[in-house]
Structures are given as C-alpha cells and as structure tokens.
Symmetry: C2
Subunit: 451 residues, 2 copies
Amino acid sequence: MRNKLLALAALSALIPAAAHAEDAARNMGGDVAWDIVSGLTTEIGQRLAGSPREAAARDWGKARLEKLGFVNVAIEPFSIRGYVRGTDAAMLTAPVPQHLAVAALGYSGTTPDAGIEAEVVYFHTLNDLKAAPAGSLAGKIAFIDHAMRANQDGSGYGPYGQVRRVGPSIAASKGAVGVVIRSAGTDHNRDPHTGATNWAAGVTPIPAGALSNPDADLIARTVRLGKPLRLTLTLTGHTQDGLPSGNVIGELPGRDPKLPPVLVGCHLDSWDLATGAIDNAAGCAIVTAAALKAQAGGKPLRTIRVLWAGSEELGGFGGAAYAKAHAAEPHALAMESDFGADRVWKARINLAPADKATADAVIAALNPMGIVASVDVAQGGTDVEPIIAAQHLAVIDMAQDGTRYFDLHHTPDDTLDKIDPAQLAQNVDAWAAVLRVVANAPSIAPVTSAK
Amino acid sequence: MRNKLLALAALSALIPAAAHAEDAARNMGGDVAWDIVSGLTTEIGQRLAGSPREAAARDWGKARLEKLGFVNVAIEPFSIRGYVRGTDAAMLTAPVPQHLAVAALGYSGTTPDAGIEAEVVYFHTLNDLKAAPAGSLAGKIAFIDHAMRANQDGSGYGPYGQVRRVGPSIAASKGAVGVVIRSAGTDHNRDPHTGATNWAAGVTPIPAGALSNPDADLIARTVRLGKPLRLTLTLTGHTQDGLPSGNVIGELPGRDPKLPPVLVGCHLDSWDLATGAIDNAAGCAIVTAAALKAQAGGKPLRTIRVLWAGSEELGGFGGAAYAKAHAAEPHALAMESDFGADRVWKARINLAPADKATADAVIAALNPMGIVASVDVAQGGTDVEPIIAAQHLAVIDMAQDGTRYFDLHHTPDDTLDKIDPAQLAQNVDAWAAVLRVVANAPSIAPVTSAK
C-alpha cells in the first residue's frame, strides 16, 4: 500500500493536476463520459451557436460517435439567427467610479464602440419594472435587481430567469436606452451569467447586459448612498441572421430495428464565455456513455438514438429542427440530460397508464442507487420537447442535483474542473439502468394525458 | 416575536439584499468595522497604489478617523514607482483557439496594443524553469504551472507565490519574450490573481501575466495533446515613476501620552481588479474598531496609534515610509491585520522574556474566545515590519483562518460579500482584548532575540 502511494505521489509530480480527475474517472469506469467532456472542452472549447467552433464540434462529435461504434451517424444542418459577441464593458461613473463585470445577453442591442452613458433607474424586482409608467425610462438605463437562491431542483431559474428573458424588452418598451440585470445565478464571483433575451413584437432591441452578483450588490449599496447613479455601457456585439448550425445524431441499433427508437438528447452548443463543461458537454457525455453501457449484457430490443442538438442556447433551434426533420418517424420515448453533471437524485416518469409495469421497473432499477421517483410530471428538455409534443411521447427525466448548477451556468466558470468524476459516473450508471428497462420494453404507448 | 419577524420580512422586501449583512453586523456590535469595509468598498472602490482612488481613500480615511474620535490624524505623503494597468488579454491560438482569463502582474513589461504571439514552453514547476538552459526561451512565451492548495495558516503563499515574484524575471533572463503563470490562488474561478513581480538587476521586464486556475488547467491538458501551443498575449499597462501615495495615521491618546504607543497597522491600498474588501479594507476596519473598543471600561495607559499604510501591494512602500518618518519616536509594540476577515484562531506572541506576565495575560484573554497561543514567531506584517526591525519591537500576530483567503486574494472576487460579519466582529473582539492588555502594560521591552 505504501509503495503504491509512493508511486502515485511520484506520478503526480510529473503530470499536470488536471490529469488526476481524468485518472479518477477512468478508475470508476467513466471513461467514455469523461473523455467526451474533456475532449469537447479541451479540443474544441466554446461552441457558441452558429459559430465556427460549433461547426468544429459537430465534426468532432460525428467522428467520436463513429469511433464509439454508433451507426447512421449524421450531421443535420440548419441555419439560425445568432448573436456574435463584441466588447462587453460597464462602469459606474457616478457617484463613485467603479468597474463592473458585465456580459451582453444574447440578442442584445448594440452600442457604439465608445458605449452609452445614462442615469441608472433601480428596480428591486421585475414587478417594480412592470409597474413603471410608460415613457418613464426615456433616456435612462434600467437596472433590475433580484435575489435568486440555490435550490436542489433548480426551481429558482423559472422566476428569476424571467428577469433576463423579458426584463430587457419591458425596459425598452418604457423608453430605456439600455438595461442591466443582476445575473440569474447563485454564486458570488465577478463572473456574469449570460443567456438569451427575447424582444416582444414591435420592441426595438436595446443594449442589454448581465452584471455579476457582487457588482449588483455594489449597485444596490450605491443606491443607498442617495445620489444619482450614472453608468457607461459598452456592448458592441450584434445579432446576425443565416448562421450555420446543425444537429449530430447516431444510433446503436436494437434487436428489432423496426420498433420506434428511444431518443436521448443533449446539446452540443455552449455559451461563449467558457467551454461549456456542465452546459452541456456533460449531457452529451452522459447520454452517449449510458447508451453504450446499456448494451452491456446483451443488445436491447430497441434502437437507442442520440441527439447532440445544436443552437439550444439561443432558443432551442436544434430541437425544433430535429422534430421537423424526423416528424414522419415514430419514436418510443425521449429523455434529455441538460442540467450539469451532479448526481441524479430523482426521476420524473411520464409513461402511459398501460405502461405501469415499465414505470415500476424503472423505479426498481433506480431505488438501489438512492434515486427516488418524483410525483412531478416529466418535461423532457428543450432539445426533445418539440418531438415529444408532436408525437405525445413518453418521457423520463433524470433530475440532477442543481444546488451548485446556477453558480456556474452561462458563466466563464463553466469549465472541466467543475465536473466531479464520481457524480458523472453515477449519472451514466443511472441512465444506463433506465435505458436497459425502456429499450427492452416491447411496447411503449404515447402519453395522451395533459402535461 | 412573530410581529417582529413579520416586520423584518416586510423590511427585507423593500431593501437590497446587501443590507442584510450590514444589519447583521450592526446587531453584533460590529458597526465600526463593517462601516469601514462597506464604506471603502462602496464609496471608494479599488484603491490601486499611486492612483487617484488611493488618494481619495486617504481623504476618506482621514475624515473617518476624525469622525470616530481619533486625534493627530494626518496624511503623510510619499511617492512611488507604480503600475498602471492597460488592456489585459490572452488567447491560445494553437492547437485549439481558446480565450484565456489573464491579468497583468504589477511591473509587467508592456506589449504593443496588438499584443505578441509566440510558441509556449510549458514548465510544470519553478524549478523546471530554473533548470532550463540559458537562451533556451529565446522568442518564446514561458508558462509556469504549479498547484497551490488551501491551508488554514496560508503557508502555501510562500513557495507558490515565488512563481509570481521571481518566475517572470527568470524567464526573461533565459530569453523569453513573455511569461504567463498559473495564479497563486486556490479557487476554481476564471478570475486571475494579480500581484507584483520583481525583476532582477540587469533583467529587462517582459510582459508577465497570471492565468486563472481553470485556464492553467486547460493549458496543462492542451500540452498533453502533443502539439505545439501558441499564445497571443496583450498586456498594455506600464510602470510609472513618481506617483503620489501616502499613509494615514491617527491616535487614541493613553492616560500617559509620554509612554511609547502601541502601533496597529493595515494597508489602505488594494489591487485594482476589485474593491479590496479582504485585502485589506478588513484589516483597517479591524484595527480601528478594536482600538476604539479597547477604550471601553476606561482609557488605557498607552496611546494606540493606527497606521493605514499606502502602497503595500507594490512593495511595502507605506511601511518603509512610516519607519523613516517616525524613526526618532520610540514605539512599544506593533501589530498588523492583513489576512482577510475570517476568524482569529491563534496568536503568535513575540514579547521579551521580561514581559512574560503580559504574554500570559494576552493568552488568558484569548483562550476564552477559542484562540490558542502559537509556538511560531510573530512576524508583524509588511506595513509594520520596517519599524519593528528598526526598533526591535515586541510583536503580536493575530493569525486568521486563511482557508479561503487565497480563493479571493488579488482577484476580481475580493468584494464586500466575502466578509462574514460574525467573523469580522470576532476579530474586533479578539484584537480589543489584546489591546486592553498591552496598552495597559506599564513596561514593554524591546525584543532582542533573533527572529
């Protein structure tokens, strides 16, 4: 034992620290999943929807799936309205000069290179902004504060993410010349959380950025000084039509290729501030490794099809393109992994009443792993929801622990070191257990009940 | 009780979240300390040595000390060789394009606005760099990796900080055109740790930056791909002579003003990437609040003098200026707070053998607070070391828990939200207890033993 420890210590002196996690993943049998996350983050890097790096990721993904033994591997192209980041900068100029960490939101309006400067109007909540009189923000920059907190089930993202999704459009509709929001995130780093924003019909986009939480705290404290705040905002990126994107699909054929396949999805694109380890290289790693692991002990009855979707972050373009391209093909069931790489703690199972035995078998497979069945309705995820909706598919969600997910989501901090190899491997094990059950189910009925 | 909670809940809906920590600090009697940290970070912001904001901080400090009842409050100016940050950027261009989070080190050489591009030579350790043959880095950018880990006593900063302090000069001496190091830090954020570097005599400064830990991980992984790495490095800041700086001092006179004072120090300047909450607004807050709290129950025998030193970060200029300006005045004992705001866990006591009773009284005052006496020799700190050395002063160090200090040190993340009000108040209590003992000691001998 001592010699082994000494040998490990000697080895550790020779190789970079990052190699340790990789070794750990290998030792736990998480090779395939770890290699995908490590490969996408190291060999490709950021994979912004519509960018050349997303295209490189598609080529990488196709080659990797083929190398892993998937068949019918294909890139299915489509084009999107994308967002191309420029220079992002913000500074409080009064009453105290303070540099602020900011990131443009996807589809932000564009400032001149020299930026814009205006008085800041503080809104403690999105409802406060909604209550502001028409025209009251003319010539002003709105700041929307709020206070997202970490929950295991990620439930803060619904309400607090709304600030990002609709806040800028509301501010623009009231005359604002720019808008900054507190990041929809739960960390305390100077790293803003980007993400797409939506402009209501008839509203002209204005420059819109997210501030890191400590910068939002600073603005809130500065407001309490009782003096007018002024801000310079420089967000030179732009929205661009006709950018190339695409999905990558591949299959592990079942014993009866005529049966509708089980579809497992993730998204290949990432935000551009980091290398998208948890969002969502991990998801592609998990579904792909699990599809392979589900072959252990004998080929399942049904084909398992993996979908590495493109351009999820800007509005689910990949999922929509998949549903359109594959509308004529029946599917049996869909699942998606897009919530990081921390452990699966519960499963939401949405099978037809006729398939209760299959649902029970899923629960029986998961309970020994410490995973419980949830009473919540399964949702799928952005990349599989369109085909689920079109075909009323059965769905199982493998709910992951999201306690730290929104510390990292859409920030510069979404990097490989945030992946815990043990939890990544637990995801693969849990997914494989479920896939073995559902891919061997002779019949899986559509789910006609309202979601 | 219920009504009070409801009232608090109603209040909390109306005021920014940041106010809660402030209220908590107030409730714990930490008003003075919290108000100083909050004030410096909110009303002043970054206070880079030699900058206009450091000057603003001196004025703020003088006014605050006077408002708090200190007398003989004075600004003692001096000038320094400073560093003025420009644009910091780095990108891996081969074998994979990857944006890197970088910050110039203080006294870095200057790149053209368009940056420099060169092949990267990887060094796992500083010793590996030292072993590189003369001239072997001609035209190259050196990357120095290492692996600092968090320790409660902060002991990693000595060896791993050396990479920053001397690594760039060694790389330059071997012909490198630029150098990047893994940050001397223990976090996993995309936020580099800046800090000053030193150039050996005869070495011409080259552009020198620190990469965040995840970026250093990425380079280490990329090296393992086995292909040449190329990097563009843009660090346009410059070194500048004759910048204005200064110390702020103030006194709470003792019952016998003729007795040599107890000197308590901190530094007012901060790095420019953040607002210097833990480094070192907290130190000034602690020593100042404790000096005031030590007056409770009766004015101590000795005067307590506070020193808010300038330009510590660039080389201890404030401490040196203080020792020079006050060389002719005897001092009794010196203490400094410059390691964040987390709890004091042990005290290093360096009193002369003749003052054993005083040392025992210090220990007796601290033990009930859970603070132990350390066998280590007290060091003082950069701002008081010159006067300690000149006058062989007695020293007491209040060692703080440094477990998370190097997550934040010299990064954009050193912001007010990192201050735990309860631990800040514990510092003030512990310091006040010690000051009550030493400021009431009729005699405190010089310490002639070798440190």
